[in-house]
Amino acid sequence: MGLKQNLHKLKEKYKGTKMAPAFNALHTFLYTPNETTHSGSHVRVVDDLKRTMNTVIMALVPCLLFGIFNAGYQHYAAIDNSLRLDPVANFFTMDNFLMGCITVLPLVIVSYGVGLLVEFIFAIIKKHEVEEGYLVTGMLVPLIVPVDIPLWMLAVAVIFGVVIGKEVFGGTGMNILNPALTIRAFLFFAYPTWMSGDKVWVHGAKEMAAQPDAISGETILGSLAQNSEPIYSTWDMFWGFIPGSVGETSTFLILIGALFLIFTKIGSWRIILSTVLGAIAMGLIFNGVVNAGWIGEGSKFYGLMSETWWHHLIIGGFAFGAVYMATDPVTASQTNKGKWIYGFLIGFLGIMIRVFNPAYPEGIMLAILLMNVFAPTIDHYVVQGNIKRRMKRFKVKTA
């Protein structure tokens, strides 16, 4: 009781002052406010934005934990290749966990620390409440970057992403591009050497590059882009014992997360399903082209195009993007019909860019950002359908 009353007194004290948003953000984290309805619906459902965002974070936690183990595992396995013979036995070890914590947790801390700082500053300047959008973004960011990304780069990117990607549009709910992907795209174009190639995906690979015992951390897509067979089995890909961005590797856990999001009705099953369908469609087209003999083994696209269609779903960032990024309700299509089109095109274009991008064999990030831009257009045409029906009714009446 004491805490509740004291916080209430403090809230009244800060009311109207510049510090009110900052204080309220902390206060509402502890207690849902004593706000009541005034008119209209006098009762409301229990769901609020915090709960919604929190559900997404819960769906991400398994990916984060797995990512921590995987960061350690990939590091040690690159040094001692024999560890890869039995990934299950050598994966959940204390060494991997500690190494993972050392490398991954700083990313999480920087992402949340810098991002929330920017949010608080904007809330105070613009005199609005601190909104919950960054809670999810802050969790997504460390999961979609290479493990060795320098922390200052991450900090710069987060500032850019939150300010340019979100706050200039008016904050949570108003942005056009997915903030987490804006951050990643910024890193990708500003510091490409830290975001692509075969040296960034495994901790230590870059530092040891010049040494005699250099280690490599080629991703599967990287190998395929060079027309060489990846060294990982399909099950490794599905369970996630492969190099890649921190949290994107385990398709299995992402699948669990997807089912959780769909069950809780927080994630849109329409978007997830249609994204997968789009990717399958593109994958089948590429396989068909290869089977028809139009693309020879000499082509630089042969490796990626000939990859079995359903493998595209379990390698690279596809699954993570489809489940956690494409479904962001603010930047996705807002109509149910539009969601089908939006998702399908993300899958379709994502795999297309992945195969044809000469510099970097992955396309899901760019496909989502591209479709973010087109989502309002899709919605416009979907809503037009409804408007036309109404106009027609009107014309029949007046004719």
């Binding site: 706000e35 409301r44 229990v46 709960r51 949570t172 109404r390």
Partner: protein, 449 residues
């Protein structure tokens, strides 16, 4: 022409405190009050001064914009107080009631043999006109218009709603007289939606009967209009609530404006929720304490919990509503209310909320918003409870940015604020949907209407 209406998208909110089907008479209220704010967009012009005597059915004030629309006293007594607020807007008229009602006599009017002009004149003169609402704009109907159709919803699906089959039982004569009269005011039909039960509307003449089923808002007249014959641009339809038909019918039969109606006192804070016979404008306390309240800190609502307006235990019955709901105030903090598992509140998601496990449980909801006001973020959830053929989120946004073209194109002529009460209830961003729609309608009325 009659067709069945089956609603799929919607949400029936099950709450504790349903009214028991017994009828008591509330003791006669000593003071009555009329609040002009209930008559949306009406600028009242007083006819009587403070201290003047008034009969039941005698004009208190009329609308400045249309002098034919008169607002009458529900009882006979003395107009003791004209309370004014900011900019001298009349907030409340208080009438000290006589022990016995002295009615102003209008004389009976046979609705079967009267012509539309006579009927209209009588409805206006007797103060029954304000019961007739129009769409577009959800305001009191313009007597100059001839509506395309008239719609009446004889079934209520709102939370803890007054069961019309019970409260209108035995009023068939009044209802018949009223619907016959009203049906002469339109070249179209008088559509009545009824539920599966024993509705007093079944067996009436001069109406087109529709059977309505499905979750709330199946009983909202707006839903029924949308499914039977949606309102187009340049069209006007009228709606009348069934409890108001009784007063209209009674006036036609007896020539007296009898403001009596059967209301349901409901809600989880009421000890013995049941039905009362009372009058428009009567003190709520005349029956509130008869049923007893469970606690002190309560919200008394004129109407149902989704669309009613706030009053207090010292307040008065509204002009339009047939329900008074009393629920606990929720002005308290809740520790980790945003992330802990919740079993005792309604949710449309399953985000650690478990109301989906107990679909038949009756909940005890308070007035807490359960979260702070935010920008629109979540999409696709409004559509699940919104049966009208339009896009609710886009409509709300069009209203917020005052885009008249978009509002018109998206179907603004068809809606009333109450149609957005369920989307407001489930809104994750806690946006005031009904207020947004009301402001949008008002803007449209000002600019286009």
């Amino acid at each position: 022409m009659s067709k069945d209406i089956k609603i799929k998208r919607g949400l029936t909110i099950k709450l504790k405190g349903e009214a028991e089907k017994t009828l008591s008479s509330a003791p006669r209220s000593r003071t009555f009050a009329i609040r002009p704010s209930e008559f949306h967009l009406v600028k009242p012009k007083m006819v009587l001064k403070e201290g003047e005597k008034v009969k039941a059915g005698e004009t208190l004030f009329y609308s400045k914009d249309n002098e034919a629309i008169k607002f009458v006293s529900p009882v006979s007594g003395t107009l003791t107080k004209i309370e004014r607020g900011a900019k001298r807007v009349i907030v409340q008229l208080t009438i000290e009631a006589d022990a016995q009602d002295d009615f102003k006599e209008f004389g009976p009017l046979n609705s079967g043999s009267s012509n539309p002009v006579e009927i209209k004149a009588r409805l206006l003169e007797s103060g029954c006109w304000p019961f007739i609402m129009q769409r577009p704009y959800a305001i009191i109907a313009d007597p100059e218009d001839e509506p395309r159709d008239i719609f009446i919803s004889g079934v209520s699906t709102a939370p803890l709603a007054n069961d019309l089959d019970f409260s209108l039982k035995g009023k068939e004569q009044q209802l018949q007289s009223a619907v016959t009269a009203l049906s002469k005011l339109t070249k179209g039909s008088l559509h009545v939606g009824v539920g599966k039960g024993e509705s007093p509307f079944k067996g009436l003449k001069d109406i087109v009967l529709h059977t309505v089923s499905g979750p709330h808002p199946a009983g909202n007249v707006g839903t029924q209009i949308n499914k039977i014959a949606p309102v187009n641009k340049n069209e006007v339809v009228w709606t009348v609530a069934p409890q108001d038909l009784v007063i209209i019918g009674d006036m036609l039969l007896t020539g007296k404006f009898n403001a009596e109606r059967t209301i349901a006192l409901v809600g989880s804070s009421v000890k013995t929720p049941k039905y009362y016979k009372t009058k428009i404008g009567a003190e709520v306390s005349t029956f509130l304490y008869d049923s007893g309240l469970d606690e002190e800190n309560v919200r008394v609502i004129n109407g149902d919990v989704l669309t009613g307006y706030k009053t207090s235990p010292k307040g008065f019955m509204g002009f339009y509503n047939n329900t008074v709901s009393v629920i606990p105030e929720g002005d308290d903090y809740e520790l980790f209310g945003w992330n802990k598992p919740v079993f005792d509140k309604i949710s449309t998601s399953r985000a650690l909320t478990f109301s989906w496990l107990t679909p038949n449980k009756k909940f005890e909801l308070d007035t807490n918003t359960n979260g702070e006001h935010r920008a629109f973020v979540v999409t696709g959830n409004y559509e699940e409870v919104f049966p009208l053929d339009m896009y609710p989120l886009q409509m709300l946004k069009a209203c917020m940015v005052k885009d008249l073209d978009a509002m018109e194109a998206l179907g603004m002529y068809e809606v009333a604020p109450e149609d957005f009460s369920l989307t407001e209830f489930i809104c994750v961003s806690k946006q005031p949907h009904q207020q947004i729609i009301r402001n949008g309608l008002d803007l449209m009325y000002k600019e286009i209407g």
